[in-house]
Symmetry: C2
Subunit: 429 residues, 2 copies
């Protein structure tokens, strides 16, 4: 038996998926036993689809026709964005088609509705390609680590940001230069806002956390700080102190079962694997109560790498294993709503950089304030400079509650010797 | 419906599996929808099973009774070694039970026979825990990367060796001291032969390569060099040159579809992820034609981490997804025999360390010999020393065929100024 496929969207990922389905069918058949047939490529921009090498007979701008075809078993949604993607996915499920999507935005925001619709239609929706590109991270969460109580998911899930940070760290570039370089190299969009301000990473950690913790995650609960306000000075201090600055997407479950979901630049100790993830690569660390730390690494974007994940889902459906899993796993479709830890209670180590006039007594005042807020210090760095000029005073703290850190920073900034707002970056432990 | 389990062997892994089945059933049920019931723990050493906290009513030394129980659906084999494990696994399959095993030795040597027996019995055999401990690497190969033509699998798959090499590299210990330390820390067996001579890694790369390349791998085809002959001098040179020495298990497919399977100490460039894998952790890099490089990292041994992998398989069977996959995937049960690349044709970069009397002309002779064998040089290191004493002369080569390297080493060793056999270690590219 063969499996018929309708592909929505013929951009970079779509054309790679089409290319593999059209030209690698014999190899896929030998490996998987499945005959996968591309029946429709639905694309409004028909010349674009033709330019991508799709045979004209497969190209249509009519989704209804692709859906009406009884031999279309799977709809692959690669349009991106919320609408019309959401409507088309819901219609596909209602029409009895399985759905594969790479759309993290859609799953992060409308996942609950879409998974319920799939369950109701007795079909499945698969979204391996939505997080971490080629990395089989959804598979790890829904199968490989299924016996675990998962306590943390920590990912470098945005290749654009990681490329920019790598350029800044390894080549001393400024943020603006690194961003321009990323755009020139094709690693950043012309409008990179969603990437650099942490929104894209937030989508992904929302999707991953729902599966890791088995809870419904309202997307708005993810706190976000991007890399767009980072100073290269802080990256230099990171290097000096034995850390690498990464944009991390973090999902944590505390003992009281309250979650903390956040995206922010983070100092990663250089002996941790995540510190070694360079350029446009992605990596996700998952901590299970039995497994301990595991980590998954690979290309987070690009046509062929993402097509690898899309086709893994397609094959899983063709084999019948994905629908069987989907119909049975409470983790996917019976998730209780999550409780959240108030952000003032998040506990982490911190890097604080105050900017102070180099006059006697500043360090004493800063350390006094930290003491008052029960924050203990693990290291201090202040380099020599001309007296009377503003200098960076760096303090590394031991673990402390966010509420205390916020208060301490407010007090430090109120000191008359402080000439600029104090920078705070969390440190991974 | 519930799934009944018989566990064979109550060592470190077995008791962790039993512990989770006995004490975490409600959490597992909530997450997976499955009721997993431990019905029998088959262990010859009954006091040992009792000491592990297994309720007496579950303990038996009678495998036949466990097998005769119609409510035993899955047999977990955690005895290890070839016999009686092989016989018991075959009997379990014949009796209509699914089998889960962590036994790499068994799968590497008798995999073909056992997979065929499972296919014949219309049952499945799962072995996630056999390679890389907790790491869901079999899952990645049989599901996550299924659309790929896989060209390379490169793993740090023996935690004992990696722990020893990390101690030697980071703390300058000798091999003997590092081994003794590993034994004291519980990271090495009292008889570590199979670990340090590369046999254990060879078992694992044989299992992984069969799945990666979809071919039958006779275990004897894996070439092996262990870490037991490594000198700390070479680890120091590795550090100086920007590499970290790791015991790698490598499966490579060349364009002509000839495989090369081997285990040997390897210089890994420090900017590669595998260089950052420290201590007893394992990691496996898999290269697919679409995915590019992916990497999977986690604990390669230990009770709970390995139990995580064993239970992932158990749940996969309970859900019905594993038997469905197993019955359909040609990759698992219809593999053609592998063709192998003659070892003289393996291409790699190399580290060569000659030991030469420090007299004029030695370097000229060595470089002349390499030139004659078409081996081009990327770097040379010779430190200052007292004239007339033997000194290490290190040459890093560009890519060269093994046949040429072997000939060159023979010629170098024949030089009258050479006082000890030349050391050769491959360099990862």
């Amino acid at each position: 038996m063969s499996t018929g496929i309708a592909l929505l969207g013929c951009g970079i990922i779509g054309s790679s998926v089409a290319d593999m389905l059209l030209h690698e069918a014999p190899r896929l058949k030998a490996r998987t036993g499945q005959t996968l047939i591309l029946r429709h490529v639905v694309e409004k921009d028909i010349p674009k689809a033709k330019a991508a090498g799709i045979p004209a007979r497969l190209i249509t701008d009519n989704f209804d026709a692709a859906l009406a075809d009884p031999d279309t078993h799977i709809v692959i949604e690669l349009i991106g964005g919320l609408e019309p993607a959401r409507t088309l996915v819901l219609r596909a499920l209602k029409a009895g088609k399985h759905v594969v999507t790479a759309n993290k935005y859609l799953i992060a925001v409308h996942g609950r509705e879409i998974l319920a619709a799939a369950k109701k239609a007795q079909r499945c929706i698969m979204f391996e390609a939505s997080c971490g590109g080629t990395i089989p991270i959804i598979l790890a969460l829904t199968k490989g680590l299924l016996a675990n109580d998962i306590t943390r998911v920590i990912g470098i899930v945005n290749g654009t940001c990681n490329y920019i940070l790598t350029q800044m760290t390894q080549h001393g570039q400024s943020y603006a230069d690194a961003l321009a370089g990323a755009q020139a190299a094709g690693f950043a969009e012309r409008d990179p806002t969603f990437d650099v301000n942490g929104t894209d990473s937030a989508h992904k950690i929302a999707v991953l956390s729902a599966l890791a913790f088995g809870m419904e995650i309202p997307f708005g609960k993810v706190e976000r700080t991007g890399i767009d306000t980072l100073s290269d000075l802080d990256l230099k201090f990171a290097k000096e102190l034995g850390y690498t600055c990464k944009l991390l997407a973090i999902g944590e479950k505390s003992d009281s079962a309250g979650l903390s979901l956040r995206v922010h630049p983070t100092f990663v100790p250089n002996d941790q694997m995540l510190a070694s993830v360079s350029g446009s690569f992605n990596a996700i660390s998952v901590y299970g109560h039995a497994s301990g730390q595991t980590l998954y690494y690979g290309r987070g974007a690009g046509g062929k790498p993402t097509a690898s994940a899309v086709l893994a889902d397609v094959i899983d459906i063709a084999l019948g294993t994905a629908p069987l899993l989907f119909s049975q796993l409470p983790l996917l479709t019976k998730r209780p709503p999550a409780k959240f830890l108030p952000s003032s209670q998040i506990v982490s180590r911190n890097y604080l950089r105050a900017t102070a006039l180099d006059v006697p007594g500043v360090m004493a005042q800063i350390t006094r304030i930290l003491g008052e807020e029960h924050i203990s210090i693990s290291a201090v760095v202040q380099h020599e400079s001309k007296a009377g000029h503003p200098v960076p005073v760096v303090v590394m703290t031991h673990e402390a509650q966010d509420g205390h850190i916020t208060k301490a920073i407010k007090k430090i900034n109120a000191l008359k010797q402080i000439t600029a707002p104090t920078v705070r970056i969390r440190v991974l432990t």
